[in-house]
């Protein structure tokens, strides 16, 4: 009987502590005590207005912007105009810029669509010492601090070159764009102009159709689906944005039309890379969105630090082909 009372107290206490640590760990996790440790205060509060929260281009852009914001200790308040092509914000671009300028932002990065009020609100922000960086489309007659974009004309030219190569200089093509892109007049027009300028050099490729969706990607899928399902003499498709490029590639698979059309798309998302590798897309023209996002925040941070920045920052245009993708994966 006596032996039963001879307990090894040290081991008993250790066992207690282990159980205690386990239970407490569970409790601490559920109490979210780590929330007590927050980041320090940011140096700048920046407002960023982007186009589409689901567009791979803008997703990449945001990643680049976040990286720079982290580096320059900036807080980024982001507003998206659309989600999958559907209107997300009740405000126009000019209103969003105006809203940002009265909300205590230290700087504004804004995607620009055609709006006569843009210059006015940008100027008002500038008067309040809030620099604005315009994206994709410039507002040249405003006091915007800088324009970060790409040469849309050359973008169109690069697409035409690949189309010409794909069709061997002969055939009929359709150009796919969506309603919002139409609203982005400047950039859109320059893309199409560049494409037509280059494609006309071949002499034997004609643009027989312009497919314009007015209902986001669902509208595009509907119109392009009907096209694929019908008897037509189209040989190639030039798609001007990344969302529609992914959508059309998926349609080609669904309609079993892979190879029936030579497709030159836009964007460099993982999905687009995959479609290109599988030769569903002949090529895809892309702007380095990550770099663009990084440059925007970096430029704004430099302006706030009193550094001078160029008024136009050109972002590189690249071309995705199955060949260069394989080269990258098998160096």
């Amino acid at each position: 009987m006596k032996k039963a009372f001879q307990i090894n107290w040290q081991w008993l206490i250790i066992a207690f502590l282990l159980v205690g640590i386990f239970v407490n760990n569970q409790t601490i996790q559920s109490l979210n005590i780590h929330a007590f440790f927050s980041k320090s205060q940011p140096r700048y509060q920046l407002n960023m207005i982007l186009k589409d929260s689901q567009d791979p281009f803008w997703i990449q852009f945001k990643l680049g912007a976040d990286k720079a914001a982290n580096f320059y200790a900036c807080a980024l308040d982001t507003t998206y105009l659309e989600e999958r092509g559907q209107a997300q914000s009740p405000f126009k671009i000019s209103e969003l810029i105006d809203k940002a300028s009265v909300s205590g932002a230290d700087g504004i990065i804004s995607f620009i669509m055609e709006d006569p009020q843009n210059a006015q609100v940008i100027d008002r922000a500038s008067q309040a010492d809030i620099p604005t960086i315009t994206l994709e489309n410039d507002v040249p007659n405003s006091k915007r601090a800088s324009f970060v974009g790409y040469n849309a004309f050359r973008f169109g030219q690069e697409a035409a070159k690949k189309m010409n190569e794909a069709l061997a200089g002969r055939g009929k093509i359709a150009i796919v764009m969506n309603r919002n892109e139409v609203a982005e007049q400047d950039s859109q027009n320059l893309k199409i102009s560049g494409f037509l300028n280059e494609i006309n050099k071949s002499g034997n490729i004609t643009v027989s159709e312009y497919i314009v969706s007015d209902n986001g990607i669902y509208g595009t899928q509907d119109i392009v689906g009907k096209l694929l399902d019908s008897e037509n003499d189209i040989d190639g498709l030039f798609i001007t944005n990344s969302v529609d490029t992914e959508s059309v590639a998926q349609l080609l698979i669904e309609y079993n039309k892979v190879g029936a059309y030579q497709v030159v798309g836009a964007g460099n998302s993982e999905q687009i890379k995959d479609y290109t590798k599988k030769r569903i897309l002949y090529a895809s023209i892309f702007v380095n969105a990550y770099e663009m996002g990084y440059q925007c925040v970096e430029t704004l941070a430099k302006i706030k630090q009193g550094e001078s920045v160029p008024s136009y920052i050109d972002t590189t245009i690249g071309v995705l082909t199955p060949e260069n993708l394989f080269e990258k994966s098998n160096p």
Binding site: F5, W9, F16, Q26, S30, P42, R43, Q45, V102
Partner: protein, 501 residues
């Protein structure tokens, strides 16, 4: 916790530690429970306060808009008063909003609302002032701007409310999960405190009662007379150890006392034994003396008479007769005077020689007497009248019937730390049964076999030698060998005792 150190605390400190530890544990449990409850309550009330505040803010904006509109339309002092009241309330609310830059989404929205609200209030003021100054264009523009800003504020407030609702929903789920975790945590706390309490109580009880139990059992054994209990080994370094040490000291003292009493008792016994031996010796001597007196009827008279006869014989020229009578007189004198004392071996041998002279004179040359003496032994002491009875026995029982060549041979030699006296005769000897009877000293009835005709028996000699030599057994002082027709030899062993010792 170093239990070894705890073991060496005093009893009072141990008990005090136990109560303090238990009090601290229960206070901690209560404190943690109170903190958790308070935290939960704060979170819930915080959520409600947020909703109420945002709702009030939204209503305030709408009220200000109405007040400004009302003033712009009718320019009444009541509208003005309402406007200022609402403006003050809204300004106060705005001051509560944090304008610090932040990474947090909802805090960012609050910051945005605060800045926009400042602008909104500014525009409202501008509109009112313009109205008072009858500047139609300005107040129209300002009021229009207010409308635009109001849209921004509403959008931000709605978004913030949506975020707060989302956060609230998330917090609710978290609170539910927390509640479960807290329940488990509380259960663990209660269970562990119970176990720790029971464990500590058991440990404390055992730590105190175990040594006490050991001490009690030992004390019971001692009280029942068992002083051979082991020493109580208790190293608690507290009052119990002091008690145990005192017990051990007491036990040691009792044992020492008992040892002392035992020693005294042994000494007394030894003393009594010696006294008994002395009494026995006295008794034997008295017996020997009695025998001597019995055989000599009136020894003093006889001794005086023999002396007179010796002198008469000398006067008459009978020298041999005179010498013979003289020897007889010496013999009797020795027997009378020396009995009961210790004498030197030399004296004892001289007496034997006197005795042998008498025998030779009586019986002529048929008995011869020889000695082999190691002379350095002659000064050692021997009880008187030891050898003569043996020699007498040798003559009476061994040589009396021998016609010629009878021999009594006495030799004295050293054997280790003892002196051996050997008396040998070549008489008729004894068979085994006679020898056994002779050696049966302890049986009183058998002693007659060892007696000579009127002298001292072998048993008497053996008894006195045993006492003199402090021997445990007769075999250590006397031995007899005999063979029928060959003779008998008696061995006597004495301790080496000098006369002065």
């Amino acid at each position: 916790m170093n239990l070894l150190k705890f073991k060496h605390l005093s009893l009072r400190t141990k008990l005090l530690s136990y109560f303090i530890v238990m009090t601290v544990i229960f206070t901690l449990i209560s404190g943690v429970s109170a903190y958790i409850s308070s935290n939960q309550s704060k979170q819930v009330s915080g959520m409600v306060i947020d909703y109420v505040f945002l709702n009030d803010l939204n209503e305030g904006i709408m009220t200000l808009d109405n007040d400004v509109e009302s003033y712009l339309i009718n320019r009444s002092s009541e509208a003005m008063l309402n406007y200022y009241n609402t403006l003050n309330e809204l300004t106060l609310k705005n001051k509560k909003l944090d304008k610090v830059r932040t990474y947090d989404e909802s805090e960012g929205l609050i910051r945005s609302i605060s800045f926009t609200l400042t602008e909104y209030i500014g525009q409202a003021d501008k509109a009112i002032e313009a109205k008072r100054g009858r500047n139609t264009q300005t107040y129209t523009e300002a009021y229009g701007r207010m409308g635009q800003l109001s849209k921004y504020l509403t959008a931000d407030l709605n978004e913030l409310l949506a975020i707060k609702l989302k956060e609230g929903s998330k917090n609710y789920n978290l609170a539910m999960a927390k509640s479960e975790a807290i329940t488990w945590f509380s259960f663990f706390l209660i269970a562990s405190s119970l176990l720790v309490g029971v464990g500590l109580a058991s440990y404390m009880t055992l730590a105190i009662t175990k040594p006490l139990d050991t001490l009690t059992k030992r004390a019971e054994r001692v009280s029942s007379g068992d002083f051979d209990v082991e020493v109580v080994a208790i190293e608690t370094n507290d009052e119990i150890q002091i008690l145990a040490d005192a017990f051990n000291e007491m036990l040691k003292n009792i044992r020492e006392h008992i040892d002392y009493l035992t020693l005294q008792s042994e000494l007394e016994n030894h003393l009594k034994e010696q006294m008994m031996q002395n009494l026995s010796m006295k008794s034997l001597l008295k017996e020997a003396e009695l025998k001597s007196l019995q055989s000599q009827i009136n020894p003093h008279f006889l001794y005086n008479t023999l002396n007179a006869a010796s002198q008469l014989s000398m006067i008459e020229g009978a020298d041999r007769t005179s010498e013979f009578i003289q020897k007889i007189a010496m013999y009797f004198r020795y027997m009378l005077k020396k009995l009961g004392t210790n004498v030197s071996i030399q004296d004892e041998l001289d007496n034997v020689e006197t005795y042998m002279y008498i025998l030779k004179t009586r019986f002529g040359e048929r008995i011869s007497y020889k000695t082999h003496i190691e002379k350095h032994l002659l000064d050692y002491v021997i009880p008187s009248t030891i050898l003569q009875p043996i020699v007498e026995n040798a003559y009476i029982h061994g040589l009396e019937d021998k016609e010629e060549n009878g021999l009594i041979d006495v030799s004295l030699r050293e054997e280790g730390d003892k002196i051996c006296i050997q008396i040998r005769d070549n008489g008729q000897g004894m068979d085994q049964s006679q020898l056994s009877s002779l050696l049966a000293f302890e049986k009183d009835d058998a002693s007659h076999l060892g007696k000579n005709s009127g002298g001292i028996g072998v048993q008497n000699v053996a008894e006195r030698l045993k006492i003199f030599g402090s021997a445990a057994d007769y075999n250590e002082v006397i031995a007899i060998t005999s063979e029928l027709g060959e003779g008998t030899t008696v061995f006597l062993w004495l301790p080496k005792v000098k006369e002065n010792a």
